[in-house]
């Protein structure tokens, strides 16, 4: 029972995960683990497979080999319900991906109503709770086109949070934002991390990593070539490739 209890505390467990796009071997045997309440930052050069990797967590990208357990679901198994898995895994995209024809409120409540089968009033209550939190309640009836990039990304984050997922994934959430809009989004993510929400974040914002991340994993050419405690990874990584990369992106 104790062992099982400990097993429950692990939110992501990837063992020898492989993926190919045609002949391109994009994930080359990845081992990775995230415990409950942890925040893990993933960084690495573009094309290294980090984005593909976190997209395998909710089955958006299938894997061809290995074992992948996320929020208690065996993602690679044919019998796993992807709908159920996805209710437990929030994913925030670089380009927000809000639904442009729906109001902010409907963007948030649609999945509560259609995936979780909540009543409209209950769903809206939850949506307003989160919108108040990010100070966007007055935008509830607005369309995404009238929001700034930073506001859109905060709506996208609360759209995921409102589902009450076991883990939140962020795929370069600030890369598409103007520099002056990044702060609000990073502050929100830092708060969530402090509250104990389990998070995996692909980002090159090392300041955020230093404040919020328990660990940093460095991706290169389809592999995690180094992983460790945040400060060490930023200031004193062992691997020469990691050191060069950290030096290049620098700490603001």
């Amino acid at each position: 029972m104790v062992a099982q209890g400990k097993e429950m505390e692990i939110m992501v467990k990837a063992r020898n995960v492989h993926k190919w796009f045609g002949k391109n071997h994009v994930l080359q045997g990845i081992n990775f683990e995230v415990k409950k309440r942890e925040t893990v930052v993933i960084c690495g050069p573009s094309g290294s497979g980090k984005s593909t990797f976190i997209r395998t967590f909710n089955g958006l990208e299938p894997i061809q080999k290995g074992e992948l357990i996320v929020a208690g679901y065996n993602v690679h198994s044919r019998t796993t319900s992807l709908h159920k898995l996805r209710e437990e895994v929030g994913l925030v995209f670089q380009h927000f991906n809000l639904f442009p024809h729906l109001t902010v409120l409907d963007n948030i409540t649609l999945a509560l109503r259609k995936s979780k089968h909540m009543k409209k009033n209950d769903a809206e209550e939850i949506a307003y709770k989160f919108l108040n939190r990010v100070k966007l309640a007055e935008k509830a009836k607005s369309y995404p086109s009238s929001l700034s990039g930073g506001q859109r990304q905060r709506v996208a984050i609360v759209r995921g949070l409102a589902m009450n997922p076991k883990i939140m994934l962020f795929d370069e959430p600030t890369s598409a934002l103007d520099p002056e809009l990044i702060g609000d989004v990073l502050n929100l993510m830092e708060e969530l991390s402090n509250e104990g929400i389990t998070m995996v974040v692909i980002t090159h914002e090392l300041g955020f990593a230093e404040r919020a991340a328990d660990r940093v994993a460095f991706f290169n050419e389809g592999k995690i070539i180094e992983e460790g405690e945040t400060k060490k990874m930023i200031y004193d990584p062992d691997n020469a490739r990691t050191r060069k990369f950290m030096g290049q992106i620098g700490l603001k």
Partner: protein, 220 residues
Amino acid sequence: MLNFNQFILLLKGLQLTLEISILGMLAGSIIGIVIGFLRASKNPIIKNISRIYVEIFRGSPLLIQLFIIYYGLPILFDFNVSAFVTAFIAVTLYTSGYMAEVFKASIEAISITQWESAYSLGLPYPVIALQIILPQALKIALPPAIGVLILVIKDSSLASVIGFTELTRMSNIVRAQTFTTFNVYAIAALLYFIVCYAISRLGNYLEKRIGGNEIHKINY
């Protein structure tokens, strides 16, 4: 020249032309939406079966489809079908072939990221298709759909040969009464033109109004 009553007859023909075209367009669009989603599917079997449907109804003349339905249905089912029903079925199937391709292109014009973020929220396929993709696809489909409607209004004149008294057949009837060939057809042509031109202008207006926010070109 035509007398007033004869002109009224032509207008009645025009009314039937519009009825058959609009009803056929609506029914054909509903089928076209379903086939369009199948055409945009990643599954090669679904994609190809739906492609065959489109090739059949878009790749054969409406006149032949009219004949097959007009002469075929009574043989198959042992009952006579009215000219209106025959024309409606034929125009619907013909239109559905065109609209399926319009919707396929519109669905594929919507960024794959809309599907991805909808799937990531655990939404089931029917909800994604009807509530996320379709509303956006309809806006993109509007200008080409207007083109199809104009095509259908003109092509519905073929239903005159199976005895459906739309504008073209009505023109024949009136010509037989008046013996003034040129006048009748000139007026019929003018009526077709006025209707098609008005629809075209309405389409431009709607396109400007709806397309104003350029929804599918920006990241949200």
